[in-house]
């Protein structure tokens, strides 16, 4: 029996009020220090909460917004989530179906016995032209599903796929923004017939009737078309169709169907049958059955509900464009930093994996990893110590309004952690009115905030862990 043994999602804290771009509701938007990698890490950690990470032997990252044409994203996610070195890592991309493609591949791998537990992450932060319809449509977010064969909360009953060669929504190697052909063509020749074929194909193959499903979860290019597919195939859109969350989140690309699935699973009960279908140059349809262990997953994570409730509304459109890099920052010379791939690689254990060291002689926890103990001065008596998931409190902080950065003030914090250890780090999602000594914080994986210039000059992206106020 193979299927989902745990789930997690990530919706960024910030929502752009669509009124500022002439639309309705809100859309979830990445902070300036977030991208598809950092969101995948957040969703993966939401999903792995309570799981022994040593048992995971595969990590897939699905995204249409890879940061590199050549360099894996999955390795960064695997390191940041403390997966062991011999974890199989690979990326899925180039399609809005990448999320379900990774899911299907993981199921196949576990079923075939080549893997025991595969973590599927899907994450997207798709670029849209200012003022375009796609800008209103898109949201940012990530999902993570753990696929295994024990304690399975959601079994995969069957799947059916079709392909459809069409230029309806696309972005080539040099495009800055996603493009789309006329909406009527895209829907009538692309989305609708493909979804009909994929979903009805699945139902015929496995002899399902519409009434068999407690919930149908459809990728949809807008707020209405999913309901059209549901009605046409004989589902009751009102009771059976998963709300596509357009008004509160937006279309999150390759992550969208999996995020909506998690939303459906949060409401599901054992015995429920769920139909999941994605779209992108074809369609993947999967039949899923909910089992008893679903109850165990539900409560110890933020999930869709928690993430959607925890939000900060943004109405400053210019700031949004700056965050997306569409409007450049003032070119006042900023901090000059040189980058060394050699030094960076040596420090991944502290920058990507949030590891310090613990002295075997005196037990003192310290960050970054040390060779000589800061407390008892024992030499080379250290073992790695992970701060992943540890909560802390601000010891002291400072707000800097002058140093040029996408967002000011820059908050620096000294954080003391439960279980020991102190980390000096930047703080993100700073609430200037709330920050204070003793404020409880947690750590979040972000694009290294101060050295944006290094990314531009060297073509590399730097990551680091930052503190943030508890997201609850």
């Amino acid at each position: 029996m193979v299927g989902i043994t745990s789930y997690g999602v990530y919706v960024p804290l910030f929502r752009l009020d669509r009124q500022v771009i002439g639309g309705r509701g809100e859309k979830a938007i990445c902070n300036f220090d977030e991208d598809s990698i950092t969101m995948a890490v957040a969703a993966a950690n939401d999903c792995l909460n309570g799981t022994d990470r040593e048992t995971v032997d595969g990590l897939y990252l699905a995204t249409t917004t890879s940061l590199y044409k050549e360099h894996l994203g999955a390795t960064t996610v695997a390191m940041a989530t403390d997966l062991r070195q011999n974890t199989y890592t690979t990326d899925f991309g180039n399609s809005l179906r990448a999320g379900t493609a990774a899911l299907k591949a993981a199921i196949d791998a576990v079923q075939a016995g080549s893997a025991k537990k595969v973590l599927v992450t899907a994450s997207d932060c798709r670029p849209s032209a200012p003022g375009s319809a796609l800008e209103q449509n898109f949201g940012d977010g990530a999902a993570a599903l753990l696929i295994g064969d024990t304690d399975v909360a959601v079994t995969i009953e069957g799947s059916y796929s079709v392909y459809n060669e069409i230029i309806d929504v696309w972005r080539n190697n040099t495009d800055t923004f996603v493009r789309s052909w006329e909406d009527r063509f895209a829907v009538e020749q692309g989305y609708l017939p493909t979804m009909y074929e994929a979903v009805s194909g699945l139902m015929q193959k496995y002899n399902y009737k519409p009434a068999d499903f407690a919930k149908v979860v459809f990728y949809t290019p807008d707020a209405r078309r999913g309901a059209e597919v549901a009605r046409r195939l004989g589902f009751d859109a009102k009771t059976q169709l998963q709300n596509p969350l357009f008004d509160v989140m937006g279309n999150t690309g390759a992550a969208f169907p999996l995020m909506l699935l998690v939303a459906a699973l949060e409401e599901a009960k054992a015995g429920d049958l769920i139909l999941l279908a994605s779209y992108g140059n074809g369609g993947d349809a999967l039949a899923l059955k909910v089992n008893e262990p679903i109850e165990k997953i539900r409560n110890n994570r933020l999930g869709m509900k928690g993430h959607l409730t925890s939000k900060r509304i943004m109405t400053d459109y210019l700031k949004y464009l700056r965050w997306r890099g569409i409007v450049p920052l003032d070119k006042t010379p900023g901090p000059v930093a040189t980058y060394s791939a050699v030094a960076a690689k040596r420090e991944y254990n502290q920058s990507i994996s949030i590891h310090g060291s613990k002295c075997k002689a005196c037990g003192y926890v310290q960050y970054p990893p040390q060779r000589v103990c800061t407390k008892c001065h024992a030499k080379d008596q250290m073992e790695p110590y992970s701060f992943l998931g540890k909560k802390g409190k601000i010891v002291t902080y400072n707000l800097d309004y002058i140093t040029p950065r996408t967002e000011t003030p820059i908050a620096t914090t000294e954080v003391d952690f439960e279980g020991g250890g102190r980390i000096q780090c930047y703080m993100t999602e700073v609430d200037v009115d709330q920050i204070k000594v003793d404020l409880p914080v947690e750590m979040t994986f972000r694009r290294y905030p101060l050295w944006e210039e290094v990314s531009l000059r060297e073509g590399v992206y730097l990551y680091f862990w930052e503190s943030r106020p508890l997201r609850a």
């Binding site: 040189t338 060394s340 050699v342 030094a343 040596r346 040390q370 060779r371 000589v372 001065h377 030499k379």
Partner: protein, 399 residues
């Protein structure tokens, strides 16, 4: 003017393996080199009362040493003096002890050139910004200009053509690579022939690949104390006989009488060191030396500048094998910069490590141990043409 002669002793030294140490951080090299020195001296890290830390590109401030070693609020000064950094850091430490303020002090020099893309940059970044109008030339040309001058001045006397001059220089490269083969901590271990040197690709005439030193990471450290304390620690401590440093003031590039047949900074540093050490005939009195062989002609000209060879006669000594392991005055017994590479702020201490071990008779490979050396000399030269910085240090065993 006073003298430091016999006032300061070295009682412990450490030196890491040099090479492309991808896995070693700056703190790793500090810990590895300093702990070898602590163990060699039989002292505890807490016995150190003050420290000096040399780094050109590997960390500003002395905190790079204190944080790695977890010293408890002792003074640590960072020293930067380009190629002389590793020697100058020890010089400063020696004065700290000679002043009577500190009983036991630590000198450490680290450089990780291989953290930089491709190693030591062709042009070296200045601290903070500059107008980009000051003339700067690549390191090979800094020294190559002296090679050109030397070649033109002496070619008729020695009957050289271009290849003949390169063959002479190749003898220095072959010697150093041979010595490096016998040195486990060296970066490059490859026996080469004169033909190899001649066939190698040109870097900057007359320098081919083997005329230039390697590029590496490394670190070294020394424990400095008073002769009185040294006696209580070990019998075979070594004594500072002279510590000289000479800074050029642009004379070579502004005054017409400078001929580029010598490094005036070398000459000045040697003169000062020999006076301090009471040496009247360097060719006879100095048993063994480590020279700055960034490029082969630097070693060649230094033989003359430091009076190991009479002016214009170094080529004859090189051909006679005077500076080989078996010769009368071995130079770069460990393979020099050619085989260790040149992590700037570590080199001077690494060279001191070799002299220290040679004087003690404790070289890590007996095959390159020189018999009963009395006085050992360390030399470095760095910086830019005209404003070179040269360091000459001399050590000896206690009477």
């Amino acid at each position: 003017m006073g003298s430091i002669r016999d006032k300061v002793a070295i009682v412990g030294m450490g030196c890491t393996k040099f090479g492309e140490l991808w896995d070693k951080s700056i703190p790793d090299l500090v810990v590895d080199s300093c702990y070898e020195a602590f163990e060699d001296a039989g002292i505890e890290p807490k016995d150190i009362q003050a420290a000096w830390y040399a780094s050109r590109e590997s960390g500003f401030t002395g905190a790079h040493l204190s944080r790695a070693l977890k010293t408890e609020y002792i003074p640590v000064t960072r020293v930067e003096n380009f190629c002389c950094g590793g020697q100058d850091v020890l010089r400063n430490t020696c004065y700290g002890v000679a002043s009577g303020v500190y009983d036991i002090a630590l000198a450490c020099g680290i450089e990780k050139t291989k953290d930089h893309h491709g190693g030591f940059g062709l042009f070296i970044q200045e601290p903070l910004d500059r107008g980009m109008t000051e003339w700067d030339i690549p390191p090979a040309s800094q020294f190559g200009q002296y090679a050109t001058s030397y070649y033109y001045h002496y070619r008729d006397y020695y009957g050289w053509d271009a290849e003949g001059f390169k063959r002479l220089l190749a003898l220095i490269d072959v010697k150093n690579h041979h010595n490096g083969m016998l040195t486990p901590k060296a970066h490059l271990h490859r026996e080469i022939t004169v033909e190899d040197v001649l066939k190698a690709r040109i870097i900057s005439w007359p320098f081919g690949l083997y005329d230039a030193c390697g590029m590496s990471d490394g670190g070294a450290a020394a424990i400095v104390t008073t002769p009185e304390i040294a006696k209580s620690i070990r019998k075979d401590y070594i004594l500072v006989k002279a510590q000289a440093l000479a800074a050029g003031a642009g004379q070579s590039t502004m005054q017409q009488e400078f001929d580029f047949l010598r490094f005036p900074e070398n000459v000045a540093a040697a003169k000062s060191a020999y006076k301090e050490a009471g040496i009247t005939n360097a060719r006879e009195e100095i048993s063994i030396a480590e020279f700055h062989d960034c490029f082969s002609t630097t070693e060649l000209i230094t033989y003359e500048d430091l009076e190991f060879s009479p002016r214009g006669k170094a080529p004859e000594d090189v051909q006679a094998g005077r500076f080989t392991l078996e010769g009368e005055q071995p130079v770069n017994t460990d393979g020099g910069l050619k085989c260790f590479g040149h992590p700037l702020s570590a080199s001077g201490l690494r060279m001191t490590y070799e002299i220290y071990k040679q004087l003690q008779g404790k070289v890590d490979n007996p095959e390159r141990q020189i018999k009963n050396p009395k006085l050992g000399l360390i030399h470095n030269i760095g910086g830019n043409v005209g404003i070179h910085m040269a360091a000459v240090t001399i050590y000896g065993l206690p009477e």
